[in-house]
Symmetry: C2
Subunit: 520 residues, 2 copies
């Protein structure tokens, strides 16, 4: 863990006191004396003063209350909870706006009463776009310790939540280690563990086994759960002529169960009971899109939108039970069909936060699907998606390793930030401006420190110009000293000002039209 | 060169005879007996029968005629040239459509009479979106042989044109090697070489030095030239309050010249003479955006659009001289300001093909700017941009090496293809469908062969499941054998059909409403 427990290069951890709570930020100290405080998902792991002991777990945060209902219920009652105050400070948005968005169901704060180790965060289109990183072992590969390592690693680079999608051995214990050490909300797909309990045969699943699994995970502290309750018996034939059928694991498991028993999904028929359980712990629903398209050919088809309509019904039921809800979305979608997904989700699901996987904008680039999907993710987030589930370069090919996790998170931080800029999020452009200013002034260290991945930015620069003086040199290896446009322009600034001053009288005589016709 | 002169894994070179010309395709033979022919930019280098000798250069193509005017002039005269017939076959679009688009100036076929080694290609929004890769050495790094190697490497992965941006020693000779061995059009920025000739001091540039350099490059066979003739004296003060000033090398050189002499740019005042030179060789103008924004803060500002209006004037002059023209575009632009760039370019520049660098949708990810810009590139191409200039991971940090060139090209092939899908290009989705069908049927070899980078896709798969039987296994390491949604769904297909058949009478009785309410 040593290499990932230091502060991020060029940054230090600072806390702001908010009503007795310590709200974390990552402070970038610039060489010109200024500083910029950034949203920080990395938890105590980047705080050299923190006492980290994985076997003990993180310290619980202060002001956790566990017996007073869900954030949704309390927001409706007019209460600004400690969690709301915390996220308001993180986002730079008034607490009352946070409360109103949660009360309306347009935002969720996933925070199981039994996961006091987390630093509260909010998912909603009025706030900065969030990124989820999936981790988890499978029967084929990877160990428990690796998954905890990936969780710390993913949050270091900016993952706002993580999902533990383990399907192999030791599901319960892996999750326990992740939860006790995770500073971000943890999501799961309970059907995976339920299936393990029945020996991997979907037809042997029962409501009882599933319910017990959900209770077990609620008790442990899982913050949100993917539930594929929208895969109905009548939807399944709609997938028959698809190019890639049903590509969601949960979706295909439930489809197999429904067909084998020729009965409606127990997730659907027992949905109200499920709501009662989740409400007790304030676990958030992530209503899964079990029929999401797995290829460009299948995007926006009847199967997908039929399920979305059912998710809309379920959203209302969940909210009536006071349970927070978000809605999962595709998948593989060509660019011209992306916005329609957001429009329909908002219309059918009462503006519940949308949480999408990509979408991938083409099928032809396995090994680069972090890029095919970052394109779709940026566009769907611009259109109103609140959280993006990352896709790594290993998608369709294997399980992500440490490098893949980082590549996936960075690609998605780019997409999320690009969307924040496009949506005009109040503080988003501050970072771009600070970095570009550093770039123009040849403050290389500042440019690195302000970037999403300071280490790689510096390594790339140092490949051709490793010496320290090059860190303040007024050129780089791209153009060399003679051709640097930024240096030439910087040198020009004085000439321009002189010319402008000298000509100003003349301009005035000509009504500013001779020299500057386009600004007058 | 050996490792990059073999066919791409899983593909072989085929030619279609078109009026006595050999039009190349990359044929992917699938294990189910089908095949797919893909657009092929790689030239003879992927043909094992080709006799490659870099010191001799590639064989000239047949039916080259050099004294009959430009493609634009001939298209206007109603002629379908050999080059138009060639690109029509490559694109799968009728020759008459090609002629009409060229005649209208909505598309260009860059093909200098003195570069007979190239395989003709077309740049225009009615055709598949193209990708350019920049190569070239600088004073700080890289050698001549490396640049030829990068050219072959870039076209192997799909670059449709390359630009030689060399600024160091041996500019002429490096370009000669590239031209004689390049199967794709080659672009340059002549001002770079002109500046070398005057010892690197922009103020010593003259029209005579520049003109002689242009003639020298036209004689050599350069197919298109970036000319920053839109940077006018009156535009320069508009950049004074920018965050990143003038970031185009050519733009900053011309700005320095204009200010030093307090005279209008010689590129602008001698533009008609330049047109006469380019027309003689059928060299295409790429009117450079010397004032493109270099940061989010500077996007779509007065300086940028003032220059674009000037480029519109110049486009008309060039077309009146029968010279083909495309227009270069930004740069750094947040997502919500991208479409405006295309709209204005088409309006002001008479629908000349737009050729954009990215744009980068945020400034905060140096080392990942192939991704920040692939997002913008996909969106701007969807809106009508005809060719995308790639950005590599080294952008802002250093010169790209071989790995960076490939990463940049692949990211941009993704963006271009995503745009082709979104624009409904006739053959684009065939490849997605073929790959997704292979994926669903667990034909792993076909999935690799159809992907943009078969080698990396296979390597990633083999990291966890290297054995050959896994190439036809009905699962992968992501979910393991028990949980594979695709396998479950494939197994389900039969059950669904049975259930549907059994229920069909019943459905009919209920007006198809009980079981399939959403398809009726």
């Amino acid at each position: 863990m040593t290499d990932m427990c230091a502060p991020i290069t060029g940054s230090s951890k600072v806390y702001r006191d908010v009503d007795g709570m310590r709200v974390p930020f990552r402070r970038v100290e610039l060489t010109n004396g200024e500083h910029l405080d950034l949203y920080d998902t990395s938890g105590p792991y980047t705080d050299p003063e923190a006492d980290i002991d994985l076997s003990r777990g993180l310290q619980p945060r202060t002001r956790v209350v566990g017996d007073r209902g869900t954030q949704l219920q309390r927001a409706r009652a007019g209460e600004v909870t400690a969690e709301m105050a915390f996220v308001a400070a993180r986002e730079g948005i008034p607490p009352e706006v946070v409360r109103a968005e949660v009360a309306a169901g347009r935002a969720v704060i996933p925070a199981n009463h039994n996961h006091p180790e987390l630093e509260p965060m909010i998912i909603g289109k009025a706030f900065s776009v969030k990124v989820n990183a999936n981790i988890g072992n499978s029967a084929v590969t990877s160990s428990m310790a690796e998954e905890v390592d990936k969780m710390v690693w993913a949050t270091r680079w900016g993952a706002d939540t993580i999902m533990d999608l383990s399907t192999g051995r030791d599901i319960h214990l892996t999750r326990e280690w992740i939860l006790r050490n995770s500073p971000v909300p943890v999501g799961t797909v309970p059907i995976y563990q339920a299936l393990e309990k029945v020996g991997g045969d979907p037809t042997r699943l029962t409501w009882d086994v599933y319910r017990d699994t959900v209770v077990e995970q609620c008790e442990q502290g899982v913050d949100y759960m993917t539930v594929h309750a929208g895969v109905l018996l009548r939807h399944i034939p709609l997938t028959i002529d698809r190019v890639t059928g049903i590509v969601s694991r949960g979706g295909s498991i439930m489809a197999a169960w429904c067909l084998a028993h020729h009965t409606e999904s127990f997730l659907y028929t027992h949905f109200a009971e499920l709501c009662e359980i989740l409400a007790r712990y304030d676990v958030t629903f992530s209503l899964g899109d079990g029929l999401r398209p797995g290829s460009i050919a299948d995007a926006n088809d009847e199967a997908q939108f039929a399920e979305l309509r059912t998710l809309g019904e379920l959203t209302k039921i969940a909210k009536n039970h006071g349970v927070q809800v978000m809605i999962e979305g595709p998948g593989h979608v060509p660019m011209h069909k992306i916005v329609e997904n957001v429009r329909l989700e908002q219309e059918l699901c009462d503006d519940a936060p949308f949480y999408t996987l990509g979408p991938l904008t083409t099928d032809i680039a396995p090994a680069y699907d972090h890029i095919t999907s970052a394109i779709g993710a940026a566009m769907i987030a611009q259109a109103g998606t609140a959280m993006l589930c990352y896709v790594t370069p290993k998608e369709h090919l294997g399980l992500p390793d440490r490098k893949d996790v980082k590549d996936g998170v960075i690609a998605y931080k780019i997409a999320a930030h690009a969307a924040d800029l496009a949506k005009g999020h109040p503080r988003a452009q501050d970072r771009d401006d600070a970095l570009s200013k550093a770039r123009f002034e040849f403050r290389w260290h500042d440019q690195f420190a302000l970037s999403l991945d300071p280490d790689t930015a510096r390594d790339f620069h140092d490949e051709t110009l490793p010496a320290e003086p090059a860190k303040s040199a007024h050129f780089c290896s791209m153009c060399g000293p003679k051709f640097c446009s930024m240096r030439i322009t910087a040198d020009l600034k004085d000439s321009i000002r002189e010319a402008m001053d000298a000509k100003s009288a003349e301009f005035a005589e000509h009504g500013n039209r001779v020299y500057l016709p386009l600004t007058s």
